[in-house]
């Protein structure tokens, strides 16, 4: 897609995301994505399609089932029409496949989005004891599918569990396919985290400029200004890392992009919360929604903390820094 098309796409999505009634808690952009042909855009221009959609999701707090579709695309597998949520995500805090294959038994513990309800089958990627991975079509009605309330009920997550037979029609996945798919999904979630961070920064700046204490806007106090400046540095840093990861999406690069975006979103939440003070702690102000979303996005596909520690452990093992993106 060229810049104009992407821009138009973004505006249509933002309209859909902010139209009253369309996307409330539990609401989803799935219908709008269907209408706009986001599916085709994803195959055509993964970076453009992912950046626009997940950016809008982060900024507006809207949700969709598209992350499952991103995983499918990363695996190189097609979804049925409207099957946005077909591919099940790992459980919170993890990036390993949601299925464990033990002989003929398939044990499942993962997450999906509301779009899974209504699909006849879910796609479960499973790992066997020898480390090989395979994709299985599992009838949805053989799975326990429960809405997740958790910290962010508005995100539209479902918990998917089950203990089923491996069944027929399992596709053996090439080695590295799951990691590559998770890498692509990491870029999507990182974009959503950056969008979320920018929204928190905007809310905090708006408040700081309007809130008057001691006869001056609190934005005139250096303690407040520096917190907000620090937040912009954090968000710009996450975005730079994300842009660089798109240029060479190795597992190391996509993991760092997700980890940095997660940590910086937590930073934006911390500073924003402090600047917004009392009002930001109430449900009368939208800030809390972004705090909730930040936590759940950071946990999705593995937290920043766990990815960061894993990176350090790998570096200590090989004693070699990751390759550098050339100028």
């Amino acid at each position: 897609m060229d810049a104009d098309e992407l821009d138009l796409f973004g505006r249509s999505l933002r309209d859909a995301a902010t139209r009253p009634g369309d996307v409330g808690p539990g609401g989803t952009l799935d219908g709008a994505l269907e209408d706009l042909g986001w599916d085709d855009a994803l195959e055509d221009d993964p970076r453009g399609a992912i950046s626009v959609l997940f950016g809008v999701q982060g900024e507006t707090g809207a949700t969709s089932s598209a992350l499952g579709r991103v995983l499918s695309s990363g695996l190189g597998l097609a979804d049925p029409p409207g099957g946005w949520a077909a591919t099940v995500l790992p459980p919170a805090g993890s990036a390993t496949p949601p299925g464990v294959l033990d002989g003929d038994a398939l044990r499942i513990d993962g997450l999906a989005f509301t779009g899974l309800t209504g699909l006849p089958s879910a796609r479960i990627v499973a790992m066997a004891a020898d480390g090989t991975t395979s994709a299985h079509a599992v009838a949805t009605d053989s799975l326990a599918v429960e809405p997740v309330d958790g910290v962010d009920p508005g995100y539209g997550l479902l918990r998917v569990t089950g203990d089923v037979g491996a069944g027929h029609g399992a596709d053996r996945l090439p080695s590295g396919a799951w990691d590559a798919a998770v890498g692509l999904a990491c870029l999507a979630v990182a974009r959503e985290l950056v969008g979320c961070s920018r929204a928190m920064l905007d809310l905090a700046c708006e408040h700081a400029k309007g809130r008057v204490q001691f006869a001056r806007p609190i934005a005139s106090f250096q303690a407040v200004r520096h917190r907000l400046a620090e937040t912009l540095v954090a968000v710009d840093m996450a975005e730079a890392m994300l842009d660089a990861a798109w240029l060479d999406p190795t597992p190391a690069a996509t993991s760092m992009a997700k980890a940095v975006a997660g940590r910086q979103a937590r930073t934006a939440a911390r500073h924003g919360q402090q600047v917004l003070a009392g009002i930001g702690f109430t449900v009368e102000h939208p800030f809390h929604r972004y705090v909730r979303r930040t936590l759940v996005l950071d946990a999705l596909l593995g937290t920043s903390a766990s990815r960061t520690t894993a990176l350090g452990a790998r570096l200590l093992e090989g004693r070699q820094l990751p390759p550098l993106l050339p100028l």
Partner: protein, 382 residues
């Protein structure tokens, strides 16, 4: 050079790398560890001369100042390659990237054509006389006075933190030509010969052992009018255009330096000395800083005018540099604290120098003020 910038850069990289490999004996510093500042300056001049004569140092600079044109990315890569191979000290090398663009943009074209090649070739060292004892962060309050006489500007005053002044042949000097109340409107930039009568330089000892900056005393120094950079009263614009260069290509070179040191830390740290969580975080900080700096290089190469957004780059550098060397101080504590060999001395000196990363070139607080006012539009701070 011709073709696309990306193609030019790829060719430049390949050819330069081959040259650096072939000439590695001639280019290698003749000392172990950090060396003294005198040794570093000699090494810098030698490397610049070899690189200029072989054509590398001319790439990315306009033809009218002795360059061969082409994308500015080649300049960034040259500095990166020289730094990554530990051939030059990045801070000293980067002075060229800060001062040459100022001359090209603001000096009379004949003056620029006469002077810039000597800087690029390492025949001359230049310095930048901005800060004063009473005006560090508050640059617009500077007091060093320049008065019109029949023979040119007569300059009286004092500068401080003037990097490399004791080695410098020329100085880009900010002076007060209007009233003190005229603040940023009454400043004029001059290009001063450092051997002019009336100039005294006193190097200042530093915590990290390298007296890289000086006090500069100017006592009835005469500067010819053609040495005025930009317009009379237009010195603020010169300074504002120069400062983003301090936060662009210079920082890219610094990223290459930090990458080399972090790898050397990985090589040198004994088992158990590095905490994986901290190591992972520092690595991410460095790679994110580098990603940001890379984007800035590409914006500059595309002809974009750099501005206050480079303050973000500077904050990221300071954060990454201090994080890398905090890790060094913990993992290599014996070397940093009681090691007396040249390599330990270098770790120690560089650790101590990293403390200045949030002070020089506009302190961390000044950068955050700029970000708040000019990027977040938070209005006035009083």
């Amino acid at each position: 050079m011709s073709g696309t910038p990306a193609g030019d850069l790829a060719r430049f990289r390949r050819d330069l790398d081959a040259w650096l490999d072939a000439e590695s004996d001639a280019l290698r510093p003749p000392f172990e560890g950090a060396g003294t500042l005198d040794q570093q300056m000699e090494q810098l001049a030698r490397v610049k001369r070899l690189a200029y004569d072989a054509g590398w140092m001319r790439a990315g600079w306009p033809e009218r100042v002795g360059g061969v044109g082409g994308t500015t990315l080649t300049r960034a890569y040259l500095g990166e390659a020289l730094t990554a191979r530990d051939l030059v000290e990045p801070g000293l090398y980067s002075m060229t990237e800060v001062l040459a663009p100022t001359m090209i943009d603001y000096a009379d074209p004949e003056l620029a054509a006469a002077m810039v090649p000597a800087l690029l070739r390492g025949d001359e060292t230049w310095c930048q006389g901005f800060s004063e004892p009473d005006t560090g962060s508050n640059l617009a309050a500077l007091a060093c006075r320049a008065e019109r006489t029949d023979d040119g500007w007569r300059v009286n005053g004092q500068k401080v933190w003037t990097s490399l002044a004791q080695y410098a042949d020329r100085c880009v000097l900010l002076t007060r030509t209007g009233s003190v109340e005229s603040a940023h409107r009454g400043i004029t930039a001059l290009f001063v010969d450092m051997d002019s009568p009336g100039i005294t330089v006193r190097p200042i000892g530093t915590m990290h052992g390298s007296p890289e900056f000086s006090e500069l005393f100017l006592d009835d120094v005469l500067v010819p009018f053609p040495r005025t950079l930009g317009d009379e009263g237009g010195g603020w614009a010169v300074a504002m255009d120069l400062l983003p260069f301090e936060r662009s290509t210079s920082l890219w070179h610094r990223a290459a330096f930090l990458h080399r040191r972090l790898q050397e830390l990985l090589d040198a740290a004994p088992p158990g000395a590095l905490d994986p969580a901290r190591l992972g975080e520092v690595t991410q900080l460095l790679y994110a800083f580098r990603a940001r700096s890379r984007a800035t290089q590409h914006r500059m190469a595309a002809g974009e005018r750099l501005g206050p957004e480079t303050s973000v780059d500077k904050v990221l550098l300071a954060t990454a540099e201090q994080a890398v060397f905090d890790l060094v101080a913990d993992a290599l504590a014996p070397q940093v604290t009681v090691g007396d060999d040249p390599v330990s001395g270098r770790w120690r000196s560089e650790y101590l120098y990293s403390r200045a990363a949030s002070i020089y070139g506009g302190s961390a607080e000044i950068q955050r003020n700029i970000i708040a006012r000019r990027l977040l539009h938070l209005g006035d701070d009083r």
